[in-house]
């Protein structure tokens, strides 16, 4: 068993994981749909409760209208979210595959989410995953029907980046989440002589499989490295991925996005 855990051939692991994930993919999609329906239903119920609290003498007709309005508001929110995602995918200068987040990680050790498309849709490992807010992470393990996305805040995710104002390069890596669950990252190996301020924008540098100029976040604090040779900066990543969000996998990272 120990041998299997540590030195199992990667192809065997990949096939095994692919089989497990392919078996669970339809159920995951079903569970995600059910979760969305439950969230919508609870939003409608909250709407009714709020209306009753505000005015106990509202007629049954008014409650019905309120319920309908809550449903419409949800639909409107969905509409705005989808329209924003659609506009983003249409305007982005790189080829994107739109995907829906179908589940989170199973154990909490890794900062990952699973998207409902895999190698059959043309997704490959180590591709950038973006949202309208910026870089979310990268694809890590790709099964035929689903892919695991390693989030930017995970310590295993490293991205070559630059600070836009001063055009200086560094390496962004995740440092997990704080106690409020907010994602954190930092940019390492910045030239110690460069003057960096809070709120400087950090974008991808274009090295590797990631597209150039994708927004990562803003600098929140600057520190000197222990060795004194470099400085590093804490970043607040702007794009976060929740359950049922829409994400985009970049398939062709050739061009820089328009400013």
């Amino acid at each position: 068993m120990l041998l299997f855990a540590f030195v199992a051939p990667s192809s065997l692991t990949r096939r095994g994981k692919g089989a497990v994930r392919s078996a669970t993919a339809p159920a995951e999609r079903g569970a995600a749909t059910l979760w969305r329906r439950l969230a919508e239903a609870s939003a409608v119920i909250r709407g009714i409760g709020g209306a009753v609290e505000r005015n106990r003498e509202l007629s049954q007709e008014l409650v019905r209208v309120q319920t309908e309005l809550s449903g419409l508001r949800d639909a409107e929110n969905d509409n705005v979210r989808l329209r924003r995602a659609f506009d983003f995918s249409r305007q982005a200068p790189f080829a994107l595959i739109p995907c829906e987040v179908v589940s989170r990680n199973i154990d909490g050790w890794w900062g990952t989410v699973r998207i409902g498309k895999g190698s059959t849709a043309g997704i490959e490992p180590n591709r950038a995953v973006v949202s309208p807010d910026g870089l979310v992470g990268r694809t890590a393990e790709v099964a035929p029907l689903s892919s695991e996305v390693l989030l930017l805040s995970d310590p295993g995710c490293r991205v070559s980046a630059k600070i836009l104002r001063v055009e200086v390069f560094g390496l962004v890596r995740g440092v997990g989440t704080n106690l409020r669950g907010e994602p954190r990252a930092r940019i390492d190996f910045i030239n110690k002589d460069v003057d960096i301020h809070a709120n400087d924008e950090v974008v991808t540098s274009g090295l590797g499989a990631f597209p150039k100029g994708v927004h990562i976040g803003y600098v929140s604090a600057v520190h000197r490295d222990e060795s004194g040779l470099y400085q590093y900066a804490e970043i607040i990543p702007r794009a976060t991925a929740g359950l049922l969000d829409y994400l985009f996998v970049v398939t062709d990272a050739g061009k820089e996005p328009a400013p």
Partner: protein, 169 residues
């Protein structure tokens, strides 16, 4: 047969639910260990083939749906099974105190094994403070999860239709 099918359905549903539930940042990002709790529930109540079927089904799902190699749950869950088989005749499996202790053990052991495998194979950096918080969180969530999961599974099993017995038949 019905009980075995229900067991597998529960384990599969438990895996889906464990993924959908959010992680707890205050507890180091730990999640309720539903699969570990189900594996332990069946390890304390079933014998022979069913015991190992439950343990390996839960372990395969847990490792198959997580990033990294198969290993953490495939090591932790059989260890829990062996331990449970050894002590099952000496404890009252439905007692709340037993379930709290074993729940903490299940959550903590699964998290510890995952941490050891990730550190040993060099797959990811583990910060000591975060790791300790995660282990404590997993143990606490295990304490809360096992009694709930165990009660739900027992009730569902009791609700299964049974064939009426006719004396010597």
């Amino acid at each position: 047969m019905k009980e075995r099918i229900l067991m597998l359905v529960l384990i599969f549903s438990g895996a889906l639910l464990q993924q959908l539930l959010p992680a707890w940042p205050l507890l180091g990002g730990a999640k309720p260990p539903i699969l570990a709790a189900l594996a332990l529930h069946y390890a304390l109540r079933r014998t022979g083939r069913d015991l190992w079927l439950a343990i390996f089904a839960a372990a395969l799902l847990r490792d198959g749906l997580d990033l990294g190699p198969f290993g953490p749950a495939l090591l932790a869950f059989p260890l829990m099974g062996l331990l449970a088989r050894r002590v099952r005749n000496d404890i009252f499996a439905d007692g709340l105190v037993t379930q709290l202790v074993f729940g903490a053990l299940a959550g903590g052991m699964a998290a510890l094994m995952a941490m050891l495998v990730y550190m040993g194979s060099g797959q990811r950096p583990v910060q000591p403070g975060h790791a300790l918080l995660h282990l404590l969180g997993a143990a606490l969530l295990g304490m809360a999860t096992l009694p709930l999961v165990s009660r739900a599974a027992s009730r569902l099993e009791a609700a299964l239709p049974r064939r009426r017995g006719y004396g010597w038949q």
